[in-house]
Symmetry: D3
Subunit: 190 residues, 6 copies
């Protein structure tokens, strides 16, 4: 409701003051997206954590594998809504709409993936991701067997678990820092 709402409860550096490698990444994403997603600015308050965060992100989200990019985003969106993380649901909801070329799927998956227009295989993927997010202590052989019945091998299982676990970290930091999603995300891909 303020003219320029804060994007983080913590200090946010100016782009020109960022370490060179971080500034380069921020400018690259700005060039590609047309704006700087606030997560880059909010986390740049801690350069070492920034570098590790995005290295981890890229290792999980950019790696080759059997999960499509849209499927990876589905995992982010479903688990982030369960964790009530505004930034991640809004920003990754936009990315999911674009990657899936589907304007409806992000809201469906966020609210209740069991009722979304996705395949049974994708529902099994999200069942596993939600269990990792909420009750990883109970994950066992049965869960891997179920995934296998849907065509996911063990490496896929690691990918699903890794994405759910990493965004669990991201969700917690976004909620603690009051990280604000850029207005641009809300209408992208609709």
């Amino acid at each position: 409701m303020t003219a320029t709402p804060r994007i983080s409860r913590f200090p946010v550096p100016e782009i020109q003051d960022l370490p060179e490698d971080i500034r380069a990444r921020v400018l690259a994403v700005q060039e590609k997206s047309g704006f700087v997603p606030n997560v880059f600015l909010a986390l740049a308050h801690r350069p070492d954590e920034f570098r590790a965060f995005f290295a981890y992100h890229d290792a999980l989200m950019e790696k080759p594998g059997n999960l499509t990019k849209a499927e990876r985003e589905m995992i982010v969106v479903a688990t982030s809504n369960a964790n009530q993380c505004q930034y991640c649901v809004v920003a990754h909801g936009a990315i999911l709409r674009i990657r899936a070329k589907n304007p409806l799927v992000a809201d469906q998956v966020a609210v209740n993936y069991r009722k979304a227009d996705i395949t049974p295989r994708q529902k099994a993927m999200l069942d596993f991701a939600m269990k990792v997010s909420a009750a990883a202590y109970a994950v066992g052989d049965d869960d891997f067997d179920t995934l296998r019945q849907h065509g996911f091998d063990d490496e896929d299982a690691w990918d699903i678990a890794g994405i759910a676990a990493f965004f669990g970290l991201s969700n917690r930091m976004a909620n603690v820092t009051n990280m604000r999603a850029n207005a641009e995300f809300y209408a992208m891909g609709r």
Copy 2:
């Protein structure tokens, strides 16, 4: 993903076969909105319940009072996401964006109203609504006192509780019937 996805797990009547009063209501909403929201068709499977449902809805959502229409929709959106009801979050999210003339507020309130661009008074309203939805057995004098400190009188408290309770019913029926939100809602008001 099918050409014409089902809008309910149960039989859905044709408009021309509806009882006269229900058909009139359906045609009126179609004229106003440009389409028939699926809740009207899905619930028309049971005409008596349909009539009671919408009479209750109107008694709570159309009545005069201190809550604005946008605030009433905030209650629907926040509690419906907690109940994981796709239909209500998507459809009432659209109505909230339009009534609040704000393209961001619905997604913010759905995912985590504590971090939304709303007033402290509206957060207190949603704190109460969420307590009614999740733990009404523990509602007591303290909750009414807190509401009063934010300018809500006892009739407002009834309104908030009534909306949370009624949409709790709606959320459950939508989830049980696999009620599908119309594609039109997703982009409205953005």
Copy 3:
């Protein structure tokens, strides 16, 4: 502990001041039962909501179908105790005892229906009702299959879900209004 305990946190109208249709219903129930159940007086504070509430109630509880009237009351009693609603457990417990002609079943079903003297079919009915009440977002085809194995068709499933959902609304309003059960109910049917 006071001589005349309040039956609601909200104002309660006098019978003679009620709108004609509501007064007629209240007098009819008084004639039939020998007293006016407090829910009629407490909800009469809001005539439009009163009318919708009882229309909904009757549509679910008085309609023909495969569920007996006693079974419908079992659903009310089990879900209302889970929601910790004093009014509904006490009042509908009385009705259940009368309709089932069984002085024990209401307390059994309220506290733990899994250990009650009811049939496996009735336990399956209550399993479904409790899931609708507590986790409707997870209701799926498997639940309908289980019901079918116990002889319930899809219309029965709607009945069970509708009753659980409607009394979820009722439980929340009773808890928010501090609705008080009439002393008459406690010993009825014992």
Copy 4:
């Protein structure tokens, strides 16, 4: 629904086969009550546990102190319903009605003690008992301070905690053994 329902999932000894001390206790309670409460027969399957159980019971329920006998039964009834223990709610509900000379209080306390016709001091007692039952790990100095503000000293706190903890054991054994409450209890004291 059977002519003679089983009172336990486990073997139940005949009274004449009981060890002398246990038979004496069973006959004494039968003389006093007019029937043998099933808990005596069900637990007599394990004589050593029987003796320890009732010694513990008597140490907490028969000891002198600031809690009235009715108040001790309130603790049993409230925590046993939270634990969904049919035997304890039904049997101790009867005892509570008799000790409090109040036909309504047991059902009120069972379903939602926050809305029962009891004193603020008794509500504080039950708040503490329920916390011991559900989250004893979080009990701390603040809870003892709150009790003190209501006139409970530390020994009273031990009594409340002991009763809640002991009946937590009882509730679990009753649920595991399918212990059945005698029909006589349901109408006592009404």
Copy 5:
């Protein structure tokens, strides 16, 4: 961090002031263990409850049966960590290490028994114990069938349930009294 930390929030009697039978038991355990476990002193504040507590304990933990002594301690350790009871996890963890002659098993079972170096039969035993501890109301025939598939008969099931239920009582009293585990326990059996 203090020189002599309190072992209970309540008064702790001196050994010489104890009733004869209790003093004898305390001295016997001191002779056997080389120190007096604090639970004996903390509970001696209430001699009648002390006697019942240890009689119950012995009836469950010393009785013959199919469960080994180490297995009984596994039940204590797993359920006590779920109940966040410091005294019982530390003290019975020590006993488990000694009885199992295994320096690792106690910590494994405490934190997550599903990942511990124990047999499938022992995991089934702990699944049942944890269900009794957290959700005894839902224990039913299926649970007994599962136990039977792992070679446990009904008497074993009672043993498992009894231990879980009894230590649930113990956990609650230890948390309410701030019962402190003796320093000696931490390194025993490692």
Copy 6:
């Protein structure tokens, strides 16, 4: 119970096959500790994730700040037991004992930090860490105010939150991979 239990459900590389930078890190920790903690080997299955994981770890655990190294380990131990992560409780329990030069504190903090021999300031730190771990969506200004009353500034709050969030990721991956704690950890620092 097997001679050489597996340390991960996934393939574990041989040290000589590791990428140079990862092998160097593994050999360095081996030199310092006398053994290779299994987390290094289990995560080395995915070199890019390994690098990001340990860069993140070091950024949070090795950075200067107001939290002592022992306090950082307390956060790991408390949140990891809540998440039922065997590897992290055992391994970081060892590190906590060593850094705090206290053989008791790790087990105390793991089971119930509220009852541990730590300062009120440390309890406030762990209250916040546990809230971040379990309910970060509800973290707000009040939590930062409470931390400030205990001498923690906003950067300390970020540190606490970051550690809780990062080990939440670690806990989930350890549970999914069945990561096994080295036997050496159990007795270290006792």
